[in-house]
């Protein structure tokens, strides 16, 4: 761990610059992707990536240069490129950052169980093969796949104000999916995949429930194939955590990103229905809604001590009892807007600059068990596991679809329905939050695939949530 630190320190100390502030962010990451599809192992894919971004501030104007050449000459060249660029864009620069303070913090952050070994590649493949082989033989089961992604990331941030911030993290992404088809219709059921990932060791695979799950997942895919379509109309909606994470992500997370509110993303990821003046005033949801930026849950995907700009990370309520309090805005956005934010300035790697991103964005648990949530529903539907997501560029009008639906009548779960979709408007939807599950319904989930930014970046984000009930939501099925 941190094998490069001494050399990086030495080379950073050897850099020469006239900039008032400069930094080096070195990122080394490796990834291993294993998969067994229809009982055949796909070729394993490994990757090793390493490089550094040099960022300078010259007369209040910042610019960067990213390079994989980590020699003294290579780093110095990148630093000078960044300096030249900062001077070139100065007449056109949007921001004057001369007054923005720089961090001088020094800290190491390491994932839980980082040092615990994971099983060998052969053992991992064996585990996936066994899971794949346990999918029952049925001609309607046309596709299935068991997969395991493993990523290691080490980052070192050094700046000319004396900061040295390092983190070493390990991420696992177990997954399983089964598709059933009758030639006309097809239905898929999955576990993990894009809806689940955590930091830590191999205990994550156990927490995901991958081992031994294939038979049940396959059976559920077949049940869906035979199920009627979701009926149309207004119903109470019980969302389980693996759909809540998407609901939080799209209709709370993105609209609260301060760079969107400041207009940076209007050409690509979009803007927000939330205005800067709404913080401290807007009743975002019902009084049951409590949303936190929480980097302290060790296993959650985006737990860290400092963000990529060097801001210390701590748990903060973004929404408390339904009232909107603060945005997802890192140090730069806080400087630009004058609002208190959080430590969420993040980059996907050494070749992209940090911007405001979601990190761990969670809903705090309430006080009702799953049985109590069900009992409070007279005419409703339970949905679990996201499969489709679409929301407007202001993050207001949304339509989401799930893999699994189950009708609820008079407090009891009834028949399974396929193609469960629902639509709504963010600004109204959260005000319909009628019940929040307790800790027994709470799950720590996350996705490796949150895209945003120009140039584009994909980052890992964590979402932990209980099951939640929303009153009178417009639900509907598919055509098939």
């Amino acid at each position: 761990m941190f094998d490069s630190s001494a050399l990086l320190r030495q080379r950073f100390a050897g850099l020469r610059s006239t900039a008032e502030l400069f930094s080096l962010r070195h990122v080394k990451q490796s990834h291993q992707a294993l998969s067994v599809r229809r009982n055949v192992a796909e070729p394993p894919v490994f990757s090793h990536d390493e490089g550094a971004m040099l960022t300078v501030r010259v007369n209040g104007v910042e610019a960067y240069a990213a390079t994989a050449d980590l020699s003294q000459t290579g780093l110095q060249r990148a630093l000078e490129q960044a300096e030249a660029l900062a001077r070139q864009i100065a007449p056109y620069s949007l921001l004057d950052l001369r007054e923005q303070p720089a961090t001088s913090a020094r800290h190491d952050h390491i994932s839980p169980n980082f040092d615990q070994p994971v099983p060998s590649l052969a053992d991992c493949l064996g585990l996936l093969a066994a899971e794949s082989a346990s999918v029952p033989k049925d001609s309607r089961l046309v596709d299935w796949q068991a997969s395991l992604g493993l990523s290691l990331v080490e980052q070192t941030y050094l700046n000319s104000a004396g900061a040295e911030l390092r983190h070493a993290q390990r991420f696992l992404f177990p997954g399983l999916s089964v598709t059933a088809s009758d030639g006309q219709d097809s239905q898929s059921r999955s576990l993990g995949r894009d809806n689940f990932g955590q930091q830590g060791g191999f205990e994550i695979v156990e927490r995901c429930g991958l081992v031994g799950a294939a038979r049940l997942v396959a059976d559920q895919a077949l049940q869906l194939l035979l199920a009627p379509n979701t009926p149309s109309g207004a119903r109470d909606l019980l969302l389980m955590p693996d759909q809540m994470m998407l609901q939080i992500h799209e209709s709370i997370g993105h609209p609260l990103e301060m760079d969107r509110i400041l207009g940076d993303e209007r050409n690509y990821a979009g803007t927000s229905f939330v205005k800067a003046s709404d913080f401290g005033h807007l009743q975002y949801g019902s009084e049951l809604l409590n949303v936190t930026f929480d980097p302290t849950i060790g296993e959650e995907l985006a737990s860290y001590s400092f963000d990529d700009d060097g801001t210390p990370a701590s748990k903060q309520f973004l929404i408390h009892n339904g009232l909107l309090l603060r945005p997802l805005g890192g140090a730069l956005s806080q400087f630009r807007s004058g609002l208190d934010g959080v430590a969420n300035s993040r980059a996907c790697g050494w070749n992209r600059a940090p911007i405001d991103r979601m990190a761990n964005l969670n809903i705090e648990p309430g006080d009702q068990s799953l049985d109590q949530l069900l009992q409070g529903i007279e005419h409703g539907i339970l949905m679990r596991t996201n499969r489709s997501w679409s929301i407007d560029d202001a993050r207001n009008k949304f339509q989401f679809g799930c893999e699994w639906g189950q009708l609820i009548e008079n407090g009891e779960l009834k028949g399974i329905v396929k193609n469960p979709n629902y639509r709504g408007i963010s600004a109204q939807f959260w005000r319909n939050l009628a019940a929040v599950g307790d800790r027994s319904t709470f799950q720590v989930l996350g996705t490796p695939n949150c895209g945003k930014g120009e140039p584009n970046q994909v980052v890992r984000v964590g979402h932990a949530s209980p099951a939640c009930v929303f009153r009178q939501i417009d639900v509907f099925g598919g055509d098939a």
Binding site: V40, A41, P43, P44, V45, F46, H48, D49, E50, G51, M53, A63, Y64, A65, A66, T67, A68, D69, S71, A78, Q81, A82, L85, Q88, I89, P91, Y92, L94, L121, V142, D143, T179, Q184, S186, S188, D264, R266, N267, Y268, G270, R352, A353, S388, S390, D392, D393, N396, Q399, G401, N419, N421, I425, G451, E454, P455, Q457, V458, G478, D479, A480
Partner: protein
């Protein structure tokens, strides 16, 4: 950069053992990225990156490793050798891969285009002059892109091009916006200026009083950029041999012969003449492939792996079996008659954030974004606020399709996830009798 690639090939050959085979992919770019907000520079940087994708094949087994290259020949050789060694140790742990198929032909392909790119100072000054008074937001991305491929069978491909992509929006003070793009390999300050001025003209329409629509079915014109979003959904497994064989394609009913699109609809993968490399990431020469002809399914995109698994013939598709240069044949509607033929309905410049609400039924949902107008009797009345649609492809490009435009637009991908994309699409606009708006 080609000499760097050739040195890597030589290194791999040198350290290869008897009976081992390899493929080596190469990707590199030097990029200037400049983001704008309020017509000022929000963030600027330069990125220099290169990577090699080494696949080792031995005894019916294969594994792949991607390594970032530093630019230092000796260090990169060490990284490649280390990758080779890790792959060599991995292969015995694997079962024989029944779907391993290799293109053993010694094909050669070479394309090198070094048209000069503009100086950044020229771009910044031009933007300041033409749009300094506007609320412009977007990105300028430019620089050389290289892709290479080599195999132990003697295949070698090289693709190098300088390219630029300026992608921007102009925002009206009422929050409405018009989207524009200027991209390619041959920079012309005059052409860029013309695009900027056209966008400025379009902005004036957005100041008219907004029109509010209720959910329902509306006659609509979908501009090529909006069609690109629909085509993008089809690229997401629609034509993939694997997805079609496993119930995961939105076009499975079309390819099963259970559904048809309008006879005017002919899609093809048109690699020749596009900006994409002439070879796939798997190391096969790409082919022009007719996908849908006159509304009926034709070929599918077949990778070497799918060819083995589903007993098909590979046709140069990437491993993901997604088109890189999707083309939709033109129709008969002259562009200057779009408003007249639309008469009363929606003029939709762009769509946004599409996804499937029912994949086997090819039913998709998404939203209008940027300049969408309500038109009455061929006259633009005013902008329409964001609306959601939810409709089937078999309706939009089937029973409800009235015409496609005679002129098409070549749309170059603005994607920069990981690296700058070389993908493109060549699409007409579409006039449809009914588009279902739901929210």
């Amino acid at each position: 950069m080609k000499d760097v690639f050739e040195a890597l090939i030589a290194d791999v050959r040198l350290y290869l053992q008897a009976d081992e085979q390899f493929t080596l992919g190469y990707s590199a770019e030097q990029s200037q990225f400049v983001r704008f907000n309020h017509a000022k520079v929000r963030q600027a940087g330069e990125v220099s990156q290169a990577s090699a994708q080494l696949r080792l094949i031995h005894d019916g087994r294969q594994a792949e490793q991607q390594v970032t290259l530093s630019g230092d020949a000796q260090l990169d050789r060490q990284r490649l050798i280390a990758a080779l060694e890790q792959l060599r140790q991995t292969l015995p742990l694997l079962a024989i891969d029944p779907y391993l198929r290799l293109d053993e032909s010694a094909w050669h392909s070479h394309s090198q285009q070094e048209q000069p790119l503009p100086a950044l100072s020229e771009v910044l000054a031009l933007l300041e002059r033409e749009a300094g008074d506007l609320d412009l937001v977007g990105i300028y991305a430019a620089g050389p892109i290289c892709r290479g491929f080599a195999s132990s069978f003697g295949a070698i491909g090289w693709h190098q091009a300088n390219s630029f992509n300026v992608d921007w929006s102009l925002f009206h003070e009422n929050g409405e916006a018009v989207k524009a793009n200027y991209a390619g390999q041959r920079w012309s300050a005059d052409d860029f200026t013309a695009r900027l001025r056209l966008a400025r003209e379009q902005l004036s329409f957005l100041g008219r009083p907004a029109v509010t629509l209720k959910p329902g079915s509306y006659r609509a014109y979908l501009a090529p950029a909006a069609m690109d979003e629909i085509a993008g959904m089809l690229c997401w497994g629609g034509f993939s041999a694997q997805a079609l064989a496993t119930g995961n394609s939105a076009l499975q009913r079309l390819y099963n012969g259970d559904a048809q699109l309008h006879p005017m609809v002919s899609f093809s993968e048109q690699v020749s003449g596009s900006l994409s490399p002439a070879f796939s990431d798997e190391g096969s020469p790409r082919l022009d492939v007719p996908l849908i002809q006159q509304g009926n399914a034709m070929q599918r995109l077949v990778s070497a792996r799918s060819a083995a698994e589903f007993e098909l013939r590979a046709n140069g598709a990437d491993s993901y079996e997604s088109p890189c240069a999707l083309s939709l044949a033109p129709g008969n509607l002259p562009s200057e008659q779009i408003l007249k033929r639309l008469s009363t309905g929606l003029y939709i410049s762009n769509l946004w954030y599409l996804n499937y609400s029912d994949l086997p039924a090819a039913r998709m949902t998404g939203l209008t974004r940027f300049a969408t107008f309500w038109v009455e009797n061929g006259e633009i009345q005013g902008p329409v606020s964001t609306m959601r649609f939810d409709d089937s492809l078999y309706s939009l490009l089937g029973s409800q399709l009235e015409d496609l435009t005679r002129e098409r637009e070549m749309i170059l991908s603005t994607s920069t996830y990981g690296q700058r994309s070389t993908g493109s699409s060549h699409l007409p606009g579409a006039l449809v009798k009914g588009l279902t708006l739901t929210l």
